[in-house]
């Protein structure tokens, strides 16, 4: 039965894999953006504090220089100008200094240093103003000491401001260095994340491809197997995903198909059985080795075999008791030519003439898959044919007899007339006598030929078969003894007398005994003549110890003009057959090479009764 998996694994897998990759990409991007903001922020702080400190310090230095310059410029600007400049610079200095103080308020030492610088700058400015005020247009009136003081303060201010500036530059460099480090770190993390993302993406892609690929491979192998008719094959389900579902559906499809095919086979088998059982003839369905797969009831009933027991047996095994290799099976020709054949043959063991229609059934590659044999019992048809042949031949012989006997009449009549005139010449007389004699001989031969178109036309009389045979044997015994042939009687006493044409039956028996003599003449063998009673018939067996007959000879021996003897006419047995048939009896032969021959006559005791029944 089909199983449905609820979850949609492949979709989920794809979604998850894609999600993981997207997550990592977003992470990388997010980290980049955040680190940038952070670094910028840091840079801004550095710029607004450390760098500004440097700038302010530098500005303070400049002002100090400018104050010094203003004093020197008094020659150009005059006293007022210089004083004004000094006042502006002093004010500027304090503004910048207080700005700087605000920046470094948390550093007490620096703060104190800066305050000291401020104080000294004020002193410096006072001295400068004093110097300027002491300027009389040509020289500074104030004495040497003031100038020295100015110079000393100038140097001191410079000395104090320089390390401050250096300090701030150092701080700025350090902060800048920190920012570079941060940027480097961010770069490394970014790179790592990118590499991890790529690796993870590849891993997920590989895993998913592999899983789908193996499922698809299984599917392909499975469907190919199904297509080749191996419906028992089952696709190995690797995963409970959509492909697993598909594989499962294919398996289910194969199962249903196999079931349907089984159903069809069963139905076909049933139909086949019904079909072949509708035949009165034997129907056998065999495999390519001639082994029976199925036989119809007509066949099974004949041989008393159960339908199941027949499978695997062969026609030759059942009917002939032989291995197929030892005999010519009826399907031999059809197997060779792969074409339908119809053959007629005599099945000696059954005593039946059979006609086998053999149809080989070929598979797609043109080899034999099955062989169907329809075997018909044509014994009665054959018998009729045989009798018809005899009758036709009888007519022919009869016509020939008429055409020959008339001229014979003329020849012999003329000769007799000539003799009646009593010729003096003895030679002439003798010639006529010979002509007459030979005409009679020819008449005798023709009469003999005519015998077998004669169906019991003679008078029937109550006959003692034993006595009749006794007479025949008496006649030939002496002659046989001379030839070294022994003839034995095995008569059953008290047989009923039967109504037969005694002359004809005698003829038949004599013919059979003479044949037996011919069979044993070269070996000085023996002949047995037996009589018995058998189910309403009198049975006469004439057996000899001769070389025996082949199946072919047995099949054809009753045909007219068929002979194995050098000087035979081929009519003896066929005439005998005609006579016995006319008496509603049977004439049959039983012989095998090396086992001698036995010819049997069966004569009905009550012919009319037999006639009614027949």
């Amino acid at each position: 039965m089909i199983t449905r998996f609820r979850d949609w694994r492949i979709g989920r897998k794809l979604f998850t894999g894609f999600g993981v990759i997207v997550f990592f990409l977003v992470s990388v991007g997010g980290y980049t953006v955040l680190s940038q903001i952070y670094i910028k922020d840091k840079a801004r702080v550095v710029e607004s504090r450390d760098f500004y400190c440097v700038k302010l310090t530098t500005a303070l230095m400049e002002i100090v220089l400018r104050v010094c310059g203003a004093v020197g410029d008094v020659f150009a600007t005059g006293k007022e100008g210089a004083l004004e400049e000094l006042s502006i610079d002093q004010e500027k200095f304090h503004i910048l200094a207080s700005e700087l103080k605000g920046l470094i308020s948390n550093d007490a030492e620096q703060y104190a240093a800066l305050k000291d610088v401020e104080r000294k700058f004020d002193v410096y400015c006072d001295i400068s103003k004093r110097l300027v005020n002491s300027f009389d247009g040509e020289k500074f009136v104030d004495g040497k000491d003031t100038a020295l003081e100015f110079y000393r303060l100038d140097q001191e201010l410079r000395r104090q401001l320089n390390p401050l500036s250096d300090e701030y530059i150092a701080r700025f460099s350090q902060s800048l260095g920190n920012i570079y480090d941060l940027a480097d770190n961010a770069e490394r993390v970014n790179l790592l994340l990118a590499v991890v993302t790529i690796l993870l993406g590849m891993l997920i892609a590989w895993r998913m491809t592999r899983s789908i690929n193996s499922s698809i491979k299984q599917l392909i192998v499975g469907t190919e197997n199904f297509a080749n008719g191996e419906l028992g094959y089952r696709i190995h389900i690797l995963s409970k995903d959509e492909l697993g579902q598909l594989s499962n559906s294919f398996n289910w499809m194969a199962e249903s198909l196999a079931q349907s095919i089984d159903d069809i086979k069963v139905a076909a088998d049933k139909w086949e059985t019904v079909f072949i059982n509708s035949f009165q003839d034997w129907v056998l369905i065999c495999d390519k080795y001639s082994k029976i797969i199925k036989a119809n009831n007509a066949f099974l009933d004949t041989f008393k075999i159960m339908p199941k027991a027949v499978a695997g047996m062969t026609y030759c095994g059942i009917v002939r008791g032989l291995q197929a290799a030892d005999c010519l099976c009826p399907d031999e020709e059809a197997k060779k030519t792969k074409k339908e054949t119809v053959t007629e043959f005599f099945e000696a063991r059954l005593g039946l003439y059979l006609e086998a229609a053999v149809s080989p059934i070929l598979d797609n590659s043109g080899d034999i898959a099955k062989i169907v044999l329809i075997i018909k019992d044509i014994t009665s048809r054959k018998e009729v044919e045989k009798e018809q042949r005899l009758t036709q031949l009888g007519r022919l012989v009869s016509n020939i007899a008429h055409e020959v006997n008339n001229p014979l009449m003329i020849i012999s009549g003329r000769a007799q007339l000539a003799l009646l005139e009593d010729p003096k010449d003895e030679n002439l007389k003798k010639n006529f006598e010979i002509i007459i004699k030979e005409c009679l001989r020819a008449k005798g031969y023709i009469a003999n030929l005519l015998q077998f178109s004669r169906p019991s036309k003679g008078e029937v009389e109550s006959t003692d078969i034993n006595k009749m045979l006794e007479d025949i044997i008496l006649l030939v015994e002496h002659q046989f003894a001379l030839a070294g042939i022994e003839i034995n009687k095995h008569f059953t006493k008290g047989l009923p007398f039967i109504m037969v044409d005694a002359k004809q039956i005698q003829e038949v028996c004599l013919n059979l005994i003479n044949n037996a003599r011919d069979a044993v003449s070269t070996q000085k063998g023996k002949i047995d003549v037996a009589t018995s009673l058998e189910k309403g018939y009198i049975r006469i067996d004439v057996s000899d110890s001769g070389p025996g007959l082949t199946q072919e000879v047995i099949n054809r021996m009753f045909e007219p003009f068929y002979t194995t003897k050098k000087n035979g006419t081929g009519l003896g047995l066929s005439i005998s057959y005609g006579i016995i048939k006319a008496h509603k009896g049977e004439l049959k032969a039983d012989s095998a090479i090396g086992k001698g021959t036995m010819i049997t006559i069966l004569l009905p005791i009550d012919r009319d009764k037999e006639n009614d029944n027949g």
Binding site: A401, V404, N405, M409, G413, R414, C439, K443, K457
Partner: protein, 125 residues
């Protein structure tokens, strides 16, 4: 003098019988076919014995027998045939009540024929 009608389609055979029977002192009438024989018989000629062939073209011996039987003419006869084995004729003859000993086969010994004829004539007279 007994009058014998010989019926046969073979002229040579007729000639032989005529010569022999005449020599033996019989009055011989010949018919070369069945139709002719019936004509002669029906013409009222007194015939003592008929020697009849069976197989004749157009008008076989059996037909002759049937014809004279139908005409109510009683005529002693013997059958002399080249073949008596043709089934139909045998059955027909049986039906006509022809005894087996009156059927003879050609070629016949003329002396035997003479005896048969004499015997037949003595019986019928």
């Amino acid at each position: 003098m007994a009058k014998i009608l010989v019926v046969d389609d073979e002229v040579e055979i007729l000639k032989i019988f005529q010569q022999f029977l005449a020599m033996s002192g019989f009055d011989v009438i010949l018919a070369s076919g069945g139709r002719e024989a019936v004509k002669i018989i029906k013409s009222g000629v007194a015939i003592d014995l008929m020697v009849l062939d069976l197989v004749m073209p157009g008008y076989p011996g059996v037909d002759v027998l049937n014809e004279i039987k139908d005409a109510g003419i009683k005529l002693p006869y013997i059958i002399l045939s080249g073949t008596m084995e043709l089934h139909d004729f045998i059955d027909d003859l049986k039906a006509l009540g022809c005894p087996r000993q009156d059927i003879y086969s050609k070629p016949i010994d003329l002396k035997e024929l003479l005896e048969v004829v004499k015997k037949k004539l003595s019986v019928s007279s």
